[in-house]
């Protein structure tokens, strides 16, 4: 193998599994250390810079970081990254003074944002400090988009949404609430310099089985519409028998909300087994903890209607299988079951819909009904129109909407500053030795043996009384500290200098997880097998040094390195050093470099 080019900013970035997996590349270990140190405001601001909604995401994020966490590869459970983020938000004191200064003198450029969800709010956050004037439109009365309309208050209290949307609106955004944009053409005629579409994926999927027309909108409702009505207090009760169709997170929110609105028999009806559900494992866990049955292999067949009212639903029992090519197979068993229901909530997916964008404006759409959008720049085929969030590439989650908002903001800024939108600014990086004394590091290098801490919950009986009472109580400072100590500090990198190495083997011998090997060089596949413990996890890179004195190379399998620093402590020549790697994705306004690095 060729020696690893650690100058490439992506190499060490890749080693920080959580940060790499986070769509917004939040510097996770850095803020976790700050939480352990009780520096909650600093931890909050680091988050805020990257993901804009630490308090919201600390409760609701899809957490792609956690399955990526290295800790999950050396023991069962990853660090509770998401819940630690919430600690920073919960325990911080006032951070208003640390928000960016907004120039009084504007730059004369005006941008319209359609939809006040996380994507648009991120664009506003990034462009306001640069002097842009921003008009924000939303069809509903308050900011937050689906975070407010869909995510139930028992998972995400309103005050958190108010606070974090507030930081952005307070920058001087001109907002137009209760204002649905009905025509893109009309908006473009208003002489905006750029337009950002962050309207989400607003329409729930229908399930038109026999008798659907008779009960659509009454006995059968779209989950997303029903949740929005609950959120805005248009609906405050549920009938006794409620069936929720679907196995995603929307289904979980629907059934738990119905339970809190007075339903007695709430059931989740799956077409698949539980193992094939799309909902996040923790959502399923919480649903089951509230005693809601999840029934497997029920294929919806027919709505049963009497006197114009829904009374039950018929299902065909099926056998579920996955074919060799990965497609799902549903084999009917012929058995039919009828289950009482006076309300059926459909949670089987969302669609994008842009009836308000005229088709002759130069904004091209694909077969999926989505605008043709460059997935790196988020620019549409009409150069001054950009998309982001669920409206751009289909429904995903908040953190993705935020990440796309950041990228779109960069593009809008480049575009309006007459720079190439394709020319992406490189990340800011630096490496700093953590050496304090011969064997002392400025990070806590010891590896905690603690298991993942459980988040305390409100007592079930209390929690079910109100749809507004938050179920999770969050970590207190003690639990937070213990959990923070589980973080392996993967951003503190093992940095190797080949010409200092005397090949004494000390590092190889001490490494508790056998990630180091000195061996004659070879091609990657061979090298991976030759290591002290073969490197079977192909997702994790090998570090290969320049040739050593004996012509061998130092190889490090990054897979399960504990970042314990022992290799560097035992190295007599400091050929290994522990250095903190700072990786900050570029924001709108940072100047582009010549070389483009793909994240």
């Amino acid at each position: 193998m060729k020696p690893t080019d650690t100058e490439n900013p992506e190499y060490f970035h890749r080693v920080v599994d959580c940060q790499h997996a986070c769509p917004a590349h939040t510097p996770v270990p850095e803020y976790i250390r700050l939480i352990a140190a009780g520096r909650y405001e600093d931890a909050y601001m680091i988050n805020w810079e990257s993901n804009v909604f630490p308090g919201i995401l600390g409760r609701t994020c899809d957490r792609p970081c956690e399955p990526a966490c290295r800790r999950g590869r050396i023991e069962d459970k990853p660090v509770a990254i998401c819940r630690l983020k919430r600690v920073a938000a919960d325990m911080k004191e006032n951070v208003q003074a640390r928000m960016p200064k907004i120039p009084k003198k504007k730059n004369g450029l005006k941008v319209a944002l359609i939809g006040a969800g996380p994507a648009s709010l991120t664009v506003a956050r990034d462009l306001m400090p640069l002097g842009y004037e921003i008009d924000l439109y939303d069809a509903t009365p308050k900011p937050g988009g689906y975070m407010r309309q869909q995510i139930p208050s028992f998972r995400l209290p309103e005050r958190v949404i108010d606070e974090e949307c507030g930081y952005i609106l307070d920058m001087g955004v001109t907002s137009y609430f209760n204002h649905r944009v009905e025509s893109m053409k009309a908006l473009l005629d208003q002489a905006y310099d750029a337009v950002f579409v962050g309207t989400g994926a607003p329409s729930g999927r229908r399930l038109p089985l026999p008798n659907y027309d008779a009960v659509e909108g009454t006995g059968v409702q779209l989950g997303v519409e029903w949740l929005a009505n609950v959120a805005f207090d248009h609906i405050d009760s549920a009938p006794e028998d409620v069936l929720v169709i679907g196995g995603g997170n929307t289904a979980m929110d629907c059934c738990r909300t119905a339970l809190r609105l007075g339903a007695k028999n709430v059931k989740v009806m799956l077409r698949t087994p539980i193992s094939a559900m799309l909902a996040s494992p923790w959502e399923i866990e919480d649903t089951q903890a509230e005693g809601i049955p999840i029934l497997e292999n029920y294929n919806p067949a027919e709505y049963v209607v009497e006197d114009g009212k829904l009374t039950a639903m018929k299902f065909e029992i099926i056998e579920y299988d996955v074919a060799e090519d990965g497609t799902e197979v549903f084999i009917p068993t012929g058995k039919i079951e009828t289950i009482d229901a006076s309300l059926v909530l459909l949670a089987i997916g969302q669609n994008n819909a842009f009836p308000w964008i005229e088709k002759d404006l130069g904004i091209e759409f694909n077969q999926r009904g989505l605008a043709e959008v460059n997935p790196d720049t988020f620019q549409s085929t009409l150069p001054q129109v950009f998309f982001g969030g669920d409206a751009a590439l289909g429904p995903k989650n908040i953190i993705t909407a935020v990440a796309q908002g950041h990228q779109a903001a960069i593009s809008i800024d480049q575009f309006l500053q007459n720079k190439s939108v394709e020319d992406r600014p490189a990340p800011h990086t630096n490496l700093m030795s953590q050496k304090m004394g011969i064997h002392d590091w400025s990070y806590s290098s010891a590896v905690s043996d603690e298991e993942r801490q459980k988040v305390p919950h409100a007592p079930l009986a209390e929690a079910l009384k109100s749809r507004k009472l938050e179920v999770e109580l969050g970590f207190d400072d003690k639990l937070a500290f213990e959990e923070a100590q589980r973080c392996l500090n993967c951003d503190v990198q093992t940095v190797f200098t080949a010409d200092k190495c005397i090949e004494c083997d000390a590092c190889v011998d001490i490494c508790p997880v056998d990630c180091l090997t000195m061996t004659p060089n070879d091609e990657e596949a061979v090298l991976r097998q030759k290591l002290t413990v073969p490197a079977e996890n192909l997702d994790e890179p090998l570090f290969v040094s320049e040739a050593l004195q004996t012509e061998r190379v130092m190889v490090k399998d990054e897979d399960v390195c504990l970042h314990c620093g022992l290799c560097a402590e035992r190295c007599p020549t400091s050929a290994w050093d522990m250095q903190k790697y700072n990786y900050k994705t570029a924001k709108a306004g940072s100047s582009p470099r010549e070389s483009v690095v793909n994240a």
Binding site: E75, D449, I502, D509, V513, P534, C571
Partner: protein
Amino acid sequence: MSYTVPSFRHPNLPRNELGYTSKDYEGAVSTLCAGCGHDSISAAIIDACFQMSIQPHRVAKLSGIGCSSKTPTYFLGNSHGFNSVHGRMPSVATGANMANRNLLYIGVSGDGDTASIGMGQFVHAVRRNINMVYICENNGVYGLTKGQDSATTDLGSKSKKGDPSPYEPIDLCALSLQLGATFVANSFSGDKDQLVPIIQAAIAHKGFAFINVISPCVTFNNVSSSTKAYDYMRQHMASTNTVDYVPTADEITTDYQEGTTERVTMHDGSYLNLHKLEAQHDIHSRRSALKLMKDYGAEDKVLTGVLFIDETTQELHEIMKTTKTPLRNLTEKELCPGADALEKLNNQFR
């Protein structure tokens, strides 16, 4: 400074026949200087014992005084140990071995511990062919007492703060050969590929197995003027052979070229496959070994590898026809058969 090593190990760590991983053969965290050759030797002992599926509780580690003699704390944490007095490890090993012949005895010493204060003890242990592995971690200095030249320091070799040594060195391999040692090897802490199988072979050997391991002292003697430095060894090391230790259970699948590979069958049925790098050498000849060492020495080369082996000898218990039962398993009556028995015994010699 870390005084503990994290408890996590690689999830795919291989297991040996006993179901143990190498972690089960580790000891406490080393307190030696970072980069000390002795630590590599500890790691090699761990690896050898792991690979041979040795039951840790069937091992006794013995040592004298010195940085080298401290190392038994850093390997085989689940084994027995006796950290004795400076230079006195051979007596303790002899006594322990006499009392219980069923354990594996691994003695660790230094060049000071062996070639100076312990010389009188060492030579008798060799001569008696005690069934043990004796590893001398040879760095050419008294590391623990801050780097004074030892009796193995080569003529003219100069440590970090010293003068060139004015004396001829004691060559512990040559001495062992002359004293009748039945297994003699020379190796280098910086070459585990060679060292680990040598330790395995020494463990499999019945009788006194001596391994001299050049083990650089990074703090006092790893300088360009020293012949016991990493650089010097890398530039001057030559090998008689490479060894593969083949446990009985393993089927022999590799065909070695006739004439270049010699197979030595050990008393327990395991094999050593010796791949000759030096065609002249006869592994069963002391004279050949001594001559070759001299020849290489004359060319400023350090000859390593298994230098000599006699797999057919009798170890001390066999020579003395002692009981097969460990003393601790004998009753008082058996241990102390009384005045009549003594009388009978004495009469044999009258």
